[in-house]
Symmetry: C2
Subunit: 368 residues, 2 copies
């Protein structure tokens, strides 16, 4: 086991949800420090859910730290990738829970990226109608976005995240050390969700990202710490106002309606989720411009930072009909009408419908 420096917490962000409030802890050396896992509800058993990529790197360190608090620590290792975010893979978590005699007080620990977090969280939501879980995100995308807010679920062949639950974690622990082992493509994908917070909520943060994008790609620890913290602050504020997406929370889906269509259209796992969102944001900005909400310069600015982050700015040529068909099963759709998150003005988003002809026009401009 590698020598580890003393744990150092650099920031703590609280999600205010009444009895379901919880903290996001951001720092270094956290994962392997028993102190990180203090104060959780008392239970006999912990189940670590991870995948074949992350498990060999970090599961041993986490298990050792958890043994200070739990009588038994079990681990289940899932295959890696969005194309495994399905029922047969979820079933492996249930099998592990039952085979190890896990009871209602068992705590599940999601150690990995967005896919592991969504699946471990959904399994925790459903096992015995609900057991607690903790998010230990190891990708930038999971740290800035998917581990926070309690959305869990799996994909259906006809649509992304179509089967799931709202189930809030007890705690989110973002150990920045884990970003050292992240492949460059995954780092870029994570930046997409960080960039997203700019146009929808905080143009000052977008300006900061533009200035620090090279430092972030170079894994500058302080830059990453700030990007994770500021992203979590914005997400915490939105989720605290609208836990179950009755309204406001939908703005966090900027770029996602187009993005989900790309992911489902190519087959899950071809493009990373963050790559599809990066491209989807450019499409969403273009749609906002066509609706007369933002100007050409704003679209160009967003496309530029997306490109500098190493993300695609034009989508695969699935054909406009296929895009429209895939977007109609989006969760925001109502009565057969697709609804898009658009930028009302830089730093403020809204949910709107748009004529099919305009969407076709946007797709023509933004696909190869």
């Amino acid at each position: 086991m590698a020598f580890s420096f003393p744990a150092r917490e650099s920031a703590r962000v609280t999600i205010e949800l009444g009895a379901r409030s919880y903290d996001i802890v951001i720092g270094t050396g956290l994962l392997g420090d028993p102190h990180t896992w203090s104060g959780l509800p008392v239970g006999a058993t912990a189940l670590v859910v991870t995948n074949t990529t992350v498990g060999p790197l970090y599961a041993g360190r986490l298990e050792a730290a958890l043994r200070a608090h739990f009588k038994a620590v079990h681990t289940v290792v899932l295959p890696d990738g969005e194309d495994h975010k399905d029922w047969p893979t979820l079933q492996r978590i249930f099998d592990a829970l039952l085979a190890n005699g896990c009871d209602r007080k068992t705590i599940a620990f999601a150690l990995g990226g967005g896919v592991v977090g969504d699946m471990a969280g959904f399994a925790a939501a459903c096992y015995m109608r609900g057991v607690p879980f903790v998010q230990v995100p190891t990708t930038l995308l999971a740290q800035v976005d998917s581990s926070v807010g309690g959305k869990t679920g799996i994909n259906h062949p006809l649509g992304k995240n179509m089967i799931g639950a709202f189930h809030q974690p007890l705690r989110v622990v973002c150990d920045l050390d884990t970003l050292d082992t992240l492949p460059p493509r995954e780092l870029s994908a994570g930046l997409a969700e960080a960039i997203k917070y700019g146009p929808i909520a905080d143009m000052e943060f977008l300006g900061w990202l533009e200035g620090r994008i090279d430092a972030l790609l170079g894994r500058d620890r302080e830059a990453l710490a700030y990007a994770v913290r500021r992203s979590c602050e914005i997400k915490a504020s939105v989720v605290g106002h609208d836990e179950r997406e009755a309204g406001l929370r939908a703005i966090l889906n900027f770029g996602h309606t187009f993005g989900h269509a790309i992911e489902a259209g190519l087959g899950f796992g071809q493009w990373l989720h963050g790559e599809a969102v990066g491209c989807g944001m450019v499409m969403g900005a273009r749609l906002s411009q066509r609706l007369g909400l933002v100007d050409e310069a704003f679209v160009a600015r967003l496309a530029s930072i997306v490109a500098r982050a190493g993300l695609p700015t034009s989508g695969p040529a699935l054909g406009a009909d296929r895009y429209l068909e895939l977007m109609r099963v989006d969760k925001k759709a109502e009565a057969g009408q697709t609804r898009f998150v658009v930028i009302d003005e830089p730093g403020r988003a809204a949910v709107r419908t748009a004529p099919d002809a305009m969407v076709r026009d946007v797709l023509a401009a933004c696909t190869r």
Copy 2:
């Protein structure tokens, strides 16, 4: 279509759960009357979930009544039986929801017995992270118990109802007419859950059941109406105090720890759930007697009404080891220790542990 008499509501019981409160409507002619379905949230689409037994009898009537309120009414027909309460069958509901472009405002209608209600409710809990649903129970067991209280889920090969969610319906409509077509074995199974309310909460109701058991088996309409109403009143009171089974609600599981072991041990679908519960209650009463909580006469009294209802009073010879193993995965278990609902005194239940030797003794006395 058969001529139907004007709908007549005979009772209405409210489950008090704050913003999630809802009514149980009990009466005749309800299912085919458009008025029954007034006042639900406005949505474009309804999905009726039923099975191959109940669908041909009642789906047409329900669909016609729903068309007064919904632009589109779709129906998905599942195979009948507890052995189909699994993921592949659940997936058929998701497939139907997606194939029909059902959005977040779609309302699912569970038309059938406990299995249909549990599966339609769980699918509604998970589809797009939650859509509303209505229970339309057509068996006595579902009317007196399973349709009320928001427990939904499916079985895992290693344990009953291990995967599920708490998801309250918008309304429960108990149309007593549907009991006319119920096979005698199913009628008896339903009586098991009605009998249950006596020892755990209301010995006066047990006395009433003893006096009216023959009328109930003869499908006397007034007797059935009262049994359904009184059962729902007791369940409403318990669930209103403890929606998510933090404590009190567990008493509704009297007879179920033994019963679930019988169901899982024989293979789901061999014994009806109510049959296993009937037998399980006799075992639970015997355990309570061994613990010194109730006397021999109480055990005999409970065994007698169970037998008169046409239910088994002794369990299959699975072997005590197998029973103990199956009971250890019960949802009430904690840290490897099985917990039983016992009768503290007639009309009052509690959750207790018991020595393995005592449980073996009870099993020896209560299995063939």
